[in-house]
Amino acid sequence: MLDVKAGDEQSFALLLQRYRSPLVNFLYRMVRNREQAEDLAQEVFIRVYRARAEYVPSAKFTTWLFRIATNLALNSIRDTRHQRMEISLDTPVTADAEEGAERTLDVADKHPDIEQHLVEEVRKAMIRRAIDKLPEKQRAAVLLHKYQELDYGEIAKILSCSESALKSLLFRAYEALRVELAPLVAGTK
């Protein structure tokens, strides 16, 4: 980032390459819309670019980056809350929903491992739904903790809370996930 600050455009390209996938995945899991996630990720990079001159390496770059991303995601969720539809348990399970395709699972598919495939997709859908049901701040905490592997201090800075509050937040989030995913949790024991 210091090279980007010094005006090295090539270093910005490296930042883009290094962080685009973690950012898009984090934002996708936060807002559950691929197009919106990519738009938000672009906005994160633009804000980083704009702020490069003022960047002071007082915190880790990833902390700063994900703080911007988390704030944008939380604002976006609040702005579009009225547009979001609750996922109904009656909604047909779709295959490859993670990829944005809305292809409904067809039991008559000629896939030889269709049953196994179906089971896996149902599991993934349940896990995604459990994450979606978490309150936004708990969801952000889980995603940053689980998928970005940031330490507690970094996540606390991103979410603007104390480490102690973060540990309680994570406890409540995992408790909710444990209850929501009880059928799957029982199967893993």
């Binding site: 910005f12 390209a13 883009l16 390459q17 685009r20 996938s21 898009v24 995945n25 996708y28 899991r29 691929r34 990519e38 990720a41 672009q42 990079f45 633009i46 670019y49 704009r50 001159a53 993670e98 990829e99 944005g100 896996e120 599991r123 993934k124 896990i127 995604r128 994450i131 889980v142 903790h145 689980k146 998928y147 330490d151 507690y152 102690s164 540990k167 309680s168 994570l170 406890f171 995992y174 408790e175 996930l177 444990r178 995913l181 799957l184 949790v185 893993t188 024991k189």
Partner: protein, 165 residues
């Protein structure tokens, strides 16, 4: 350690991020508390389930869109450019300098204060007096040259008598 205190230690314990002393304390509690022991195992199971979600790849146009937006950003000036005055300031300063030069190049009207009140005399540039211009006109006015010469008398004129009074 109580079950309540476990709330803040459970995730760090599952993550293996506790200090040695804290870990011993938690393990002592877990050995005596089946409910917390079960919860720890289920948290680990939940963590394993979260690993099952696949990653998505950003679309192929993502980088191009970011670069296009970066290219559209206004060019940031160098730090020294911030010290350059704005064109308006330059124009205003130029106008001020020109005005100063113009004012200083005008003929100076001198005021001589040579003494007390009443003794003030002004040095007047003859070119500034339109009456003197009229004098030139009158001096060369032909009809006036034909007038008879004034009669010379010994008596002082009225003006002289007034001055002497």
């Amino acid at each position: 350690m109580s079950c309540g205190r476990m709330e803040k230690h459970m995730m760090p314990y599952v993550d293996g991020r506790l200090k040695v002393s804290e870990q011993r304390e938690v393990e002592a509690h877990l050995a005596a508390c089946p409910a917390c022991r079960l919860r720890v195992n289920e948290f680990r199971a939940v963590s394993g389930l979260l690993d099952e979600l696949p990653l998505i790849e950003p679309s192929s146009a993502f980088d191009a869109r970011v670069r296009a937006r970066v290219a559209a950003e206004p060019v940031k000036q160098s730090w020294w450019a911030e010290f350059l005055p704005s064109p308006r300031a330059v124009l205003a300063a130029s106008m001020l300098v020109l005005a100063t030069i113009w004012i200083s190049s005008r003929p100076v009207t001198q005021v001589n204060n040579t003494g007390g009140a009443g003794s003030t005399a002004q040095a007047i540039d003859p070119n500034d007096l339109p009456v003197l211009e009229n004098y030139d006109v009158l001096a060369n006015f032909e009809p006036l040259t034909e007038l008879p010469q004034p009669v010379q008398t010994d008596e002082p004129d009225e003006g002289d008598s007034n001055r002497s009074m």
